[in-house]
């Protein structure tokens, strides 16, 4: 046994030593013509920035040998061979969360094998640098490089580039162990406080050099002179939301057809789910005859523009998705833009990119709205009218256009590839990430729970004059959170929907009221095994209750809400019924004296839950105007629960206050019938009251600036603990 163990240890030691020797030996061989390994892919968004970096390497070191590691069948497989580069394959598998153990194991095993394969390549071609742009395809390469460097002390420089504001998983995971992480936005440094470097997004020379000289006549269409050109596209595959919004916007743009010209890149998507060309044309066919006749004069559509730089060059406004690549191109060209971030991406990174552009003053952001489409499927939607109005507002304001253009130009970091290679070669010393960070204003990206807690606290403090802007920084942030919360309402997990419902209320997102009403009325049953445990509908009890609470906070009582509240009064869950009564009491000004509501509330007095009875009694007192209400409240005077008796008294009080009843012998007689004993009381601790009186007085003095400052009190408090 012992000999076996010793044997194993010696073997491991020997193999380790052999690899160590081999690696360093091979490195020495390739010192004259060093090898650079590039990796990154899965999508074109990861490949193109690498090509830009590659341009710079080739320019400086024509003798370097470049090898690209990618995955078969992915974007890099199509792009790289065309560029005349050597591409080798490895195995990789996307990480799909830890929820599904089978997929997790599959991912780990495939990545492990991919890493081994890369390590063998590295023995064959030991790299001087490994540069990656992230994407799961690059995980094995980076891992292999880290192993070589960490375990065998191989002098490999490992560098990552992050294109988006919110780093992808691979970069986030390996960021700590690599030499440098280049980021495109200053905000992103927060994720790499040790080794982050702001470089910008590497854009290929061809995008922002030349091309402008080309006259528009070389294009397959002609733009009449004096028109402002709006270029709308949703990436190479096209974006359904954008395409549909464009068609929807056409009638609103039609009156301005002599001032604008729209170039529409529909995208190449021809899948079963969405055929960009056919869908768009079908929708155009449904437009008015008059518009269709005039269409070719102010609208041109094509699936894909192979010379997109030319289109950029002639356009005055760009409407596009906010992927890192697109916005870098737009910024490089110095074009004003309306950005429509794609929803549901990890970390909302397109949203963050768009907001970064907006903060720089270079763009406007239009958020997608999640709704159900005609077929009942979940889909994102942009309102055509809103899009048209935004386009018209920007395009008609030439001062705004030129400012946006300037801002866009200054937003773009022109020399990204140069900075990257300079830092890699040690020719430039990057700034300390922490110092850079201190100078940027990073917007807090709160989790939903954190947001909810902050808003709840603000609302509890002062509910009458509440506005979410007490907590949030500005309208921009409010708009973003409203957009994010709107999406939560459609989550399959009810706990997330529930948070969404609460947040809709606290963010005063009034557009979502119809949806809240729909959730209250929804009667889709849950599976039988959940019903067996007491569940009822898909929009669970808490959601229905909280939707009502949100409606109360939103303070809107229209016909949709009215119908929902009426239904909620008959809800099987007692908390929903009680909350519905509270909503009625809240809107009592509008409902007082209305027969139907009084009748509904009187029915509730026979409710099995005393909480509902109590709330109904309060509500009756608020909306009742005649003897029937009073008699009903008197009848609760001998109710078993003191809370109900107290609520009835409160109801009578508010009727008195509203002058619908006056002191009379009947009133006194009715009041005498009340049982006044109670099983509960509110304890009164004089010492606590005096203590809080002192504190309250101090707070007030501080607020009025009559004594030093509040920090003194905090200091004292800290000393105490």
């Amino acid at each position: 046994m012992t000999t076996f163990l010793v044997g194993v240890i010696i073997t491991i030691f020997f193999v380790f030593g052999a690899i160590w020797f081999l690696v360093n030996k091979r490195m020495a061989i390739f010192r004259k013509n060093p090898i650079v390994i590039l990796s990154g892919g899965g999508t074109g968004g990861h490949v193109y920035p690498l090509l830009a970096i590659l341009e710079e390497i080739k320019r400086r070191h024509p003798n370097y040998r470049i090898i690209y590691i990618g995955k078969a069948g992915k974007a890099e497989d199509h792009i790289i061979p065309k560029e005349g580069l050597q591409l080798i394959h490895t195995w990789a598998h996307p990480f799909e969360g830890i929820r599904n153990p089978a997929k997790l194991i599959l991912c780990l095993v495939i990545t492990a094998f991919g890493t081994l394969r890369c390590m063998i390549y590295f023995l064959k071609f030991p790299p001087l640098w490994v540069i990656s742009t992230g994407g799961y395809v690059s995980a094995p390469t980076i891992l292999a490089a880290i192993v070589f460097k960490g375990l065998f002390r191989a002098p490999i420089g490992i560098f990552l580039h992050e294109q988006n504001t919110i780093p992808g998983r691979v970069n986030l995971l390996f960021g700590k162990w690599v030499d440098r992480v280049f980021v495109s936005f200053e905000q992103t440094l927060a994720f790499f406080p040790e080794n982050g470097v702001v470089s910008g997004y590497p854009v290929r020379q061809s995008i922002y050099c030349g091309e402008k000289k080309d006259s528009p006549t070389s294009l397959p269409f002609s733009v009449p002179s004096g028109r402002k050109v709006v270029f709308i596209f949703g990436g190479s595959q096209g974006a359904r939301t954008i395409n549909r919004a464009v068609v929807e916007a056409l009638p609103y743009l039609f009156p301005y057809r002599h001032k604008i010209f729209i170039i529409h890149g529909r995208g190449l998507s021809k899948t079963e789910v969405y055929d960009a060309q056919r869908d768009t044309e079908a929708r155009i066919a449904r437009l008015d005859e008059e518009i269709r006749r005039e269409l070719p004069n102010f609208y041109y559509a094509q699936d894909y523009f192979y010379n997109i730089q030319r289109i950029y060059a002639i356009s005055d406004l760009v409407v596009a998705r906010s992927g890192a690549g697109t916005i870098s191109e737009i910024a490089a060209m110095g074009k004003p833009s309306i950005l429509i971030p794609k929803s549901g991406l990890p970390g909302d990174h397109q949203v963050m990119n768009a907001r970064a552009m907006k903060q720089a003053g270079a763009a406007y952001v239009l958020y997608e709205n999640t709704t159900h489409d005609e077929g009942g499927n979940l889909t994102e939607r942009i309102d055509g009218q809103v899009l048209a109005q935004m386009i018209l507002r920007i395009i008609q304001d030439s001062v705004l256009l030129s400012t946006m253009s300037l801002c866009a130009k200054s937003f773009f970091r022109r020399n990204a590839s140069k900075i990257i290679i300079d830092v890699i070669e040690g020719k430039a010393v990057p700034l300390d990430p922490k110092k850079v960070l201190a100078s940027v204003e990073t917007p807090p990206i709160w989790t939903n729970g954190r947001l909810l807690r902050s808003l709840q606290a603000a609302y509890a403090k002062n509910s009458s004059a509440y506005t979410p802007l007490e907590v949030l920084k500005d309208e921009d942030e409010l708009e973003y959170f409203r957009y994010r919360v709107g999406r939560l309402l459609y989550d399959p997990n009810w706990e997330i929907r529930n948070i969404g419902v609460k947040l809709v209320g606290y963010l005063l997102h009034r557009d979502k009221i119809p949806h809240l009403a729909k959730m209250i009325e929804d009667r889709t049953p849950v599976p039988w095994w959940q019903r067996l445990l007491g569940g009822d509908y898909k929009e669970v009890g808490f959601i229905r209750r909280n939707a009502l609470t949100s409606i109360r906070i939103l303070g809107v009582f229209d016909t949709t809400v009215e119908r929902a509240v009426q239904k909620a009064l008959e809800d099987p869950y007692y908390e929903v019924r009680a909350e519905a009564c509270r909503v009625i009491a809240h809107f009592s000004d509008m409902l007082a004296g209305k027969e139907i509501w009084l009748k509904k509330l009187l029915e509730r007095l026979k409710d099995p839950s005393f909480e509902v009875v109590a709330e109904a009694a309060v509500a009756i007192g608020r909306i009742g105007i005649d003897n029937r209400a009073l008699e009903a409240l008197f009848s609760l005077g001998t109710h078993h629960f003191w809370q109900v008796r107290e609520a009835a008294l409160r109801g009578i009080l508010s009727m008195l206050e509203r002058h619908v009843i006056c002191p009379s012998i009947e009133l006194y007689r009715g009041l005498q019938g009340f049982i006044l004993t109670s099983t509960d009381f509110v304890p009164h601790f004089p010492i606590r009251n005096t203590y809080s009186a002192i504190l309250a007085l101090c707070e007030e003095r501080i607020r009025r600036r009559q004594c030093p400052s509040i920090t003194d009190r905090e200091k004292l408090f800290e000393e105490n603990n």
């Binding site: 706990e495 569940g535 669970v540 808490f542 959601i543 005393f610 109670s678 509960d680």
Partner: protein
């Protein structure tokens, strides 16, 4: 220690013949209880002042109920008083060579320490929500339970090896079945975890956990006395467990310390026991049940704890987290009663009465079999 001393003195001279009193379990039990009560009563006041000075004050959980209004800044970790009082009294009056005694003492210490760490963490983080995570607590509890189960079923066990894995059920003379080592170990792990957490959950209102614990421990003390007595156990058809009488003294000491603590803990409380106290009491109760082979008596004897724990868990795990509505109006039980409009002292006394009745029923199972 006095047990040893008495025996030694007795063997030295006839003058110390009164020392034979220490050989009577009843005498030692009464003395242990008295010592513990007096000790806790004396020590409480300076201890509470000490807690105030060090600002070891209760950190409220953010339940959103607003029920515990006016209770903030009450000192916590009163469990140390209970444990300290009981241990000192045991040191004086217990037979320190009894493995029964040491089993319970070890369990109390282990769970007391677990609760202490939890309390300390809450104190540091200034939030009642940020103590040890549920998982960590359960792992620590399970770790003890595994060790304890192995100990009880091993050859070192104070129980007779033939008895160790048998499962007795109240109202039945003969053991229901032999679980065997494997199942019995699992059973003990679940039992210990359930009991300790049940006591922990019950500790939600002033004086609510301590009195039912005293009832439970006292009845277990009576059982220990009977089972450790050859004649009584034979008369009542119980398996004779030699040496288990020592648990009566442990029970008396814990009960006495609990009474002394209640003096200050009753509504409105000047001190809370904290997790230190509730987990320690739970540990003591569960190990005593196991050592006396009365595991299945607990659902009756500690029916209140069971109701509190089940209502809380069903509400939380099935209701709130799974199907998205409240299955009980409020949970645990005492909050449900408060919700129905009962004042805190009323809830507490009513639940004391309930647990007293349950203790009497449990006591009746001694004879009704």
């Amino acid at each position: 220690m006095l047990y040893w001393l008495g025996n030694i003195l007795m063997s030295l001279s006839d003058i110390f013949s009164f020392c034979r009193l220490v050989n009577y379990i009843t005498f030692r039990a009464i003395m242990a209880a008295l010592t513990a009560v007096i000790l806790v009563l004396i020590c409480s006041k300076p201890y509470i002042m000490f807690l105030h000075r060090r600002r070891i004050l209760d950190q409220q959980r953010n339940t959103g109920l607003g029920l515990a209004l006016g209770k903030s800044d009450t000192p916590t970790m009163g469990g140390i008083l209970i444990i300290g009082g009981a241990f000192f009294s045991l040191f004086l009056w217990g037979n320190l060579s009894s493995s029964f005694l040491w089993s319970v003492v070890f369990a109390t210490t282990w769970f007391g320490a677990l609760g202490f760490i939890d309390d300390l963490k809450k104190l540091r983080k200034r939030s009642g929500d940020k103590g040890l995570s549920e998982k960590t607590k359960l792992i620590a509890q399970a770790a003890f339970a595994v060790g304890f189960a192995c100990y009880v079923t091993s050859s070192l066990s104070p129980l007779h090896p033939r008895e160790a894995t048998l499962l007795y059920v109240p109202f039945l003379k003969t053991p229901l079945l032999d679980l065997g080592h494997g199942f019995y170990t699992i059973f003990i792990i679940l039992f210990v975890m359930f009991v300790t957490n049940a006591v922990n959950i019950t500790d939600g209102l002033d004086g609510l956990a301590i009195m039912p614990s005293i009832f439970t421990i006292s009845v277990l003390g009576v059982f220990a006395y009977v089972l450790g007595n050859k004649i009584y156990s034979a008369y009542l058809y119980y398996p004779y467990i030699p040496g288990s009488g020592e648990l009566a003294i442990v029970a008396a000491a814990l009960g006495g310390a609990g009474l002394g603590f209640l003096w200050y803990n009753t509504y409105p409380a000047q001190i809370f026991m904290g997790d230190t106290g509730s987990l320690a009491l739970g540990g003591a109760i569960s190990t005593m049940c196991v050592l006396l082979k009365q595991e299945m008596l607990f659902p009756i004897l500690g029916g209140l704890f069971v109701a509190e724990a089940l209502s809380s868990q069903i509400q939380d795990k099935i209701g709130v987290k799974f199907i998205g509505k409240r299955l009980f109006t409020r949970a645990p039980l005492h909050h449900a009663l408060q919700y129905r409009g009962l004042a805190e002292p009323k809830v507490v006394v009513r639940l004391w009465i309930v647990s007293g009745i349950l203790a009497l029923i449990a006591l009746a199972t001694l004879k009704i079999r």
